[in-house]
C-alpha cells in the first residue's frame, strides 16, 4: 500500500517536473493543478516523456541560466581570463559561469529523451553519460540523468546526480527546484520521510 502511494506520488511529482521543466516559455506552461488520471504503475504518456530539458537545437534552453539573467555578465565576458594568483593584491574571480551546451551533447540528450520515452532507460542513461563527457558542467544533463534514474526506480543514484546538477546550476535557476523535488521523491521512495520533507522544503524555497 505504501508502495502504491509512493508510486502515485512519484508520478504526480513527475507531472510537475514536466511542467516545471518543459521548454515552453513560461506563458504556456502546462497546467499542473489538474493531473491526468493516472493508473496504478502505468505511467501516463505525458509523464513518461520528460527529461526536463528539451534538446532540440533550435531551443535556446541549453543556455537557460543566461537567459534568465541569473549570471553576472562580467563572468561571461572573460571566459578565457585566468583567475589571478592569490597574491597580496589580487582577488579571485567570482561568479558562476555555465557554458552553453555544444550541439553534440544536445543531440545526445535528445536521443536520451527519445529512448527514455519508450522505457529504454539504460540506453537513455548511456546517451546522457556520453553527453556528460562532452559537457560535464551542464546542470541540465546531470538533472536529466537523475530523472532517468528516478524513472528506473534506481533511487539510490538520484540524489547524488541531482545534487551535482544543483552544484552547477545558478541559485535562481528553476533547475534547482526540480532537483530538490527529485531528491525529495527519491528519499521518500527509499523510506526517508524526514529527509524527503527537508528536501521538499528546499524545493518550496524556490516558489511554486
Amino acid at each position: 500500500m505504501d508502495q502504491r502511494i509512493i508510486s502515485r506520488w512519484g508520478l504526480l511529482l513527475l507531472v510537475s517536473l514536466l511542467s516545471a521543466c518543459a521548454s515552453q516559455p513560461r506563458g504556456d506552461r502546462p497546467r499542473v493543478d489538474t493531473p491526468p488520471p493516472v493508473e496504478q504503475r502505468q505511467p501516463a504518456p505525458e509523464v513518461s516523456v520528460p527529461p526536463p530539458v528539451r534538446a532540440t537545437p533550435a531551443q535556446p534552453r541549453a543556455t537557460l541560466p543566461r537567459e534568465e539573467g541569473t549570471l553576472p555578465p562580467a563572468a561571461e565576458q572573460a571566459p578565457g581570463a585566468a583567475p589571478q594568483p592569490p597574491t597580496s593584491s589580487t582577488p579571485p574571480p567570482v561568479g558562476g559561469r555555465v557554458e552553453p551546451m555544444p550541439p553534440a551533447a544536445r543531440n545526445l540528450a535528445a536521443k536520451a529523451e527519445a529512448a527514455s520515452r519508450i522505457g529504454r532507460h539504460d540506453e537513455a542513461a548511456a546517451y546522457l553519460e556520453r553527453a556528460l563527457r562532452i559537457a560535464p558542467r551542464s546542470p541540465e544533463l546531470w538533472q536529466n540523468l537523475a530523472v532517468v534514474r528516478f524513472r528506473q526506480k534506481d533511487y539510490a543514484k538520484v540524489e547524488g546526480l541531482a545534487q551535482r546538477s544543483n552544484a552547477l546550476a545558478p541559485s535562481s535557476s528553476p533547475l534547482r527546484k526540480t532537483n530538490w523535488e527529485l531528491i525529495a521523491a527519491a528519499r521518500k521512495a527509499r523510506g526517508d520521510a524526514k529527509g524527503a520533507a527537508e528536501a521538499a522544503a528546499e524545493a518550496r524555497r524556490f516558489g511554486s
Binding site: S89, V94, R97, P136
Partner: protein
C-alpha cells in the same frame, strides 16, 4: 575388415579342390554373408556415427572466443580539446596507415591543422557508427570543425575503439571470426591456388590432387605436398587428433566426404578460414585469417593489400617454419611462390605478381590484439569483471568489453614516467601513475611500474605507501567546513611542538625547511605545505574530525587516529589517493573510479552497464576554498616547478607529498577535467633523494604537458564571496588597508574587522561596491 580379406585369399587357394569346392564354397559364402551381415551394419553404424559427429559438431561449432577488451572510443566534435598529434596517436593505436589522402578505410593524412581520415564502421553498445571519410580541423589544441568529406559538417563522430587486449581461457586459441563475404577474394584465390586447386570440383577428397602430390613427393624424395583438400584439412583440425595412422586417414576421407555431402562449398570454406592455424604468440595460438591479419599486420583483413594476403595464404603450410617475424626470408620466398603460382594459373597477371613480389613483407613489429600491452589496466578491468562474470564465460563467449582507457593519455603517462625514471638513473626506482576523468571517475590511464608491458606487481593498485603531505588537504578541509572558525586568511601557529606519540616516544615534527615563522595564513600553510601549522590546525579541529573527513573523501579510515596522521603517516595506494582527490576535483562529490563502461555479447546485446554514480560528500564552498589553496600550491607553493613544463600559473591545482628521508615522492593534481596521481619510490622502501616536487611532480607535469585538458578556472560557487583580508591579523581588511589580500570566503562568514584597518571608512560598503563593479565587468580586478 582385415579378417574378411584374408578369407577371400583363402577361397582362391581352395578353388583347386573341386570335391570340396561346393561345400567349401557354401561355407565361404556363408562366412562372407555373415561377415557382411555383421560388417555392413557395423560400417553403416560407424558411418552414421561419423555423420552425426560431422554434422552435430559442424552446426554446433562454437569456437571458444576470448573476450575482447576495447579502449574508450574517441569522440570528435567542435570544441573538443585535442591536439592533432594526439589524434594521430589515437589513429596509430587503431592501426591506421598514413596515406596520401586518407580515403581508404583505416588510413589518415595530416596536413598542418587538418587531418583527413576514413574511419571504420563499428557496433558500439549504444548503436552502430558508420565508417566515414572525415576531415577534422584544429586550431591549436582545439577541434574547430568536423565534417564528412563530400558532405556537410557533423556534430559528433565516434571513432572505433582500439582493441587493447583479450581475456583468454587456459587453453588459448585465439581467433576473430570472419564471414566469407568479408574476406577479400584475393585471399581465397591465393589459398585455393596454393592449397586446393580443385576445391570447387572435388567431393571432399581429390584423387588428382593426391596423385599430383605423390608425384611431386616422389620426384623430390620427401613429403613436400600434402595432397589433402581444404575439406580434409578442416576435418583434421575440427575432429581428429594429429596422429598419422591409416585409420585416421580413412576417417578423414570419410568425414570429408560426409561434410561435402551435407554442406555447401561456401560453408566449408568459411569454416576453414576461421579454423586454420596460422601462428603462435607465446601461449596464444593464432587461428583463422581474421586474427592472423591483426596479429601480423595490425589491421582488419579487408584492409590488407594483395601481397599481404598472399603471405597469409602461404602461411597455412607451415606457420612456424614461415613465421614472417622470425624467418622473414623464408616467409618472403613462400609468399613469392604463392604469387608465382597464382600468375602461372592465370589468377593474377604476371605483371601484378611481379609488382607484389617487389613489396616488402609489411608485417607490424609486434603482434597486436594479444594479451594486452596494458597489463596494469587490464588487471583493473579483470578485477572489475570478476564481480559479475565467471572466468569461463570471459574466456569463451566472445564478450565485448568496453573500458574507459584513453590510449593517448595512457601513452603520455607511460612516456612521462619512463622519461623521468631515465633521468634519475636509479634502476631500482619505480613509479606509478593513475589518471582519472574528474567528472565521471573513468580511469583514463594506469601505469604500475617501469616495466609497463610486464604484468608484474601493480603498484598503482596495490602498493600501500605513506602519503605524506598529500593528506594535508583533508586537515584543511575539515577546518574550512567550519567557516565560523576558519577561513583561508586565518592565522595558524607556526611554532615548535613536542608531544607524546602513541608508543610513548616524543614526537617533534618540523617544517621541511626547518624554519618557524610564528604565524602563517591558512592558505599559505597549505600551499607551502608547512608541517607545524598543519599539526596545530589538526589538533584544534580534532583527530576524529580529520579522520571523518578523510573517510568522506573516499579513503579507508585509519585504524587508529594519532597526530602524525596530520602529516600523512598513513598508507594508501595511488588509486586510493586518486579517488580521494577526485572528491576535491569534482567540487565535493565522491565518485567511484571505473574502468569498465559496458559488456556486450558478440551479437550486440548489452549484458551489463556500469553506470556513473556520484555522492555528495562535502558542501561546494569548503572544497572550493581547498582547491583555491591547492592552485596557490602550484602557482607559488611547493608545486611551482610545474611551470617548467606548463608555463607560469597553469590552470591546475595540486599537492606534493614527500615522506621521511624521501622514501616516497608523490604528486596529486588536477585540471577541470583530468586528475592524475603520480608516485615515485623504491619497492624496498629505500630513500630516493626525491621530494614530491623533484620526483613525482615532474612526472605529473610532463604528463600534463602532453595530454589535452580543460583549464581549472575555479569560478567560485555562489556561496563564496571575495573579501579583503588583512594578512597581519587574518581579519577583515579593505581595499585601502595596507597589504590587504583578497581571499574567497564562505558567504556570511566574514571575520571581524581588523583593528589595523579600522580607520578605513565604510569598508563594507566599499567591498560591496567593488563586488558590483566586478559583476558589471568594469573592473578587471
Amino acid at each position: 575388415m582385415a579378417r574378411s580379406s584374408k578369407s577371400a585369399k583363402g577361397s582362391k587357394a581352395a578353388a583347386k579342390q573341386p570335391r570340396r569346392r561346393f561345400t567349401f564354397g557354401r561355407v565361404l559364402l556363408g562366412l562372407v554373408l555373415i561377415v557382411l551381415l555383421i560388417a555392413i551394419p557395423v560400417i553403416g553404424i560407424y558411418v552414421f556415427f561419423l555423420d552425426y559427429k560431422v554434422t552435430s559438431q559442424f552446426e554446433g561449432k562454437r569456437w571458444a572466443l576470448p573476450a575482447r577488451v576495447f579502449a574508450r572510443p574517441l569522440e570528435l566534435y567542435e570544441g573538443l580539446r585535442l591536439r592533432p598529434e594526439n589524434l594521430v596517436l589515437e589513429l596509430k593505436q587503431l592501426g591506421y596507415r598514413a596515406e596520401a589522402n586518407g580515403a581508404q578505410s583505416g588510413t589518415y593524412h595530416r596536413a598542418g591543422n587538418t587531418v583527413r581520415l576514413t574511419s571504420r564502421a563499428f557496433r558500439h553498445p549504444d548503436g552502430e557508427e558508420p565508417g566515414r571519410q572525415l576531415e577534422i580541423r584544429f586550431d591549436g589544441n582545439t577541434v574547430t570543425a568536423v565534417r564528412e568529406v563530400g558532405g556537410g559538417s557533423l556534430d559528433l563522430v565516434r571513432l572505433e575503439p582500439a582493441l587493447i587486449g583479450s581475456i583468454y581461457p587456459d587453453k588459448v586459441e585465439d581467433r576473430i571470426l570472419v564471414r566469407l563475404d568479408e574476406v577479400p577474394p584475393m585471399l581465397v584465390d591465393a589459398l585455393l591456388t596454393i592449397e586446393d586447386r580443385a576445391f570447387y570440383e572435388h567431393s571432399g577428397i581429390s584423387f588428382i590432387g593426391l596423385a599430383r602430390a605423390m608425384a611431386t613427393n616422389l620426384r623430390s624424395g620427401r613429403v613436400v605436398q600434402g595432397g589433402s583438400t581444404i575439406t580434409q584439412q578442416l576435418v583434421k583440425n575440427f575432429y581428429l587428433s594429429s596422429e598419422r595412422t591409416l585409420t585416421r586417414k580413412i576417417n578423414e576421407a570419410l568425414m570429408a566426404m560426409l561434410l561435402e555431402y551435407h554442406y555447401s562449398k561456401q560453408e566449408i570454406l568459411e569454416a576453414y578460414l576461421n579454423e586454420v592455424y596460422l601462428g603462435q604468440d607465446g601461449a596464444r595460438a593464432i587461428h583463422g585469417f581474421g586474427m592472423a591479419s591483426h596479429f601480423f599486420f595490425g589491421r582488419p583483413l579487408d584492409e590488407l593489400q594483395p601481397h599481404q594476403l598472399a603471405l597469409l595464404a602461404g602461411l597455412v603450410k607451415g606457420p612456424s617454419y614461415y613465421d614472417p617475424r622470425r624467418h622473414p626470408q623464408r616467409a618472403q620466398e613462400r609468399r613469392n611462390l604463392v604469387l608465382t603460382t597464382m600468375a602461372g594459373q592465370g589468377v593474377i597477371s604476371a605483371d601484378q605478381a611481379k609488382a607484389y613480389m617487389e613489396r616488402p613483407l609489411d608485417v607490424a613489429p609486434t603482434g597486436r590484439g594479444g594479451d594486452t600491452p596494458y597489463p596494469a589496466f587490464m588487471e583493473l578491468v579483470k578485477e572489475h569483471l570478476r564481480r559479475d562474470y565467471r572466468a569461463e564465460d570471459l574466456g569463451s563467449e566472445g564478450l565485448r568489453i568496453f573500458t574507459t582507457l584513453a590510449p593517448s593519455v595512457q601513452h603520455a603517462a607511460e612516456e612521462a614516467l619512463l622519461n623521468r625514471l631515465k633521468q634519475w638513473r636509479d634502476k631500482k626506482l619505480e613509479g606509478a601513475v593513475v589518471v582519472l576523468d574528474v567528472d565521471d571517475g573513468s580511469v583514463l590511464g594506469l601505469v604500475a611500474g617501469r616495466d609497463v608491458r610486464y604484468p608484474g606487481f601493480n603498484r598503482a593498485l596495490y602498493a600501500k605507501r605513506q602519503i605524506g603531505s598529500l593528506i594535508k588537504p583533508a586537515v584543511y578541509l575539515a577546518a574550512l567546513e567550519r567557516p565560523a572558525q576558519y577561513g583561508l586568511g586565518t592565522l595558524l601557529q607556526d611554532e615548535p611542538i613536542s608531544m607524546a606519540d602513541g608508543s610513548g616516544k616524543t614526537w617533534e615534527p618540523k617544517n621541511y625547511d626547518g624554519q618557524v615563522r610564528g604565524q602563517v595564513p591558512l592558505w599559505d600553510a597549505l600551499a607551502r605545505s608547512y608541517n607545524l601549522p598543519t599539526v596545530y590546525l589538526g589538533l584544534q579541529v580534532g583527530m576524529r574530525q580529520v579522520a571523518n573527513t578523510m573517510q568522506r573523501m573516499g579513503l579507508r579510515p585509519p585504524s587508529s587516529a594519532y597526530p602524525s596522521m596530520f602529516l600523512g603517516a598513513v598508507n594508501y595506494t595511488p588509486m586510493e589517493v586518486a579517488q580521494a582527490y577526485l572528491t576535491l576535483a569534482s567540487g565535493g562529490f565522491r565518485t567511484h573510479p571505473r574502468a569498465v563502461r559496458a559488456v556486450m555479447t558478440r551479437d550486440g546485446e548489452v549484458l551489463s552497464r556500469y553506470p556513473l554514480a556520484v555522492e555528495r560528500a562535502f558542501d561546494t564552498a569548503p572544497v572550493y576554498l581547498v582547491d583555491y589553496a591547492l592552485q596557490a600550491a602550484v602557482w607559488q607553493g611547493t608545486g611551482r616547478s610545474a611551470a617548467n613544463w606548463l608555463g607560469a600559473q597553469p590552470l591546475v591545482a595540486g599537492k606534493t607529498g614527500t615522506t621521511d628521508d624521501t622514501r616516497d615522492s608523490w604528486f596529486a593534481g588536477f585540471s577541470a577535467d583530468v586528475l592524475a596521481v603520480t608516485w615515485v619510490g623504491r619497492d624496498d622502501n629505500a630513500t630516493t633523494g626525491l621530494t614530491g616536487a623533484s620526483g613525482a611532480l615532474t612526472v605529473w607535469s610532463e604528463l600534463f604537458k602532453n595530454i589535452d585538458w580543460r583549464p581549472l578556472e575555479l569560478t567560485p560557487p555562489e556561496s563564496v564571496e571575495a573579501l579583503y583580508i588583512d594578512p597581519t591579523s587574518g581579519m577583515l581588511g579593505s581595499e585601502n588597508c595596507q597589504g590587504a589580500v583578497v581571499l574567497p570566503y564562505v558567504r556570511g562568514f566574514a571575520p571581524a574587522l581588523s583593528p589595523n584597518c579600522i580607520d578605513q571608512r565604510n569598508v563594507l560598503d566599499r567591498a560591496s561596491d567593488w563586488f558590483k563593479e566586478m559583476f558589471d565587468g568594469s573592473t578587471n580586478y
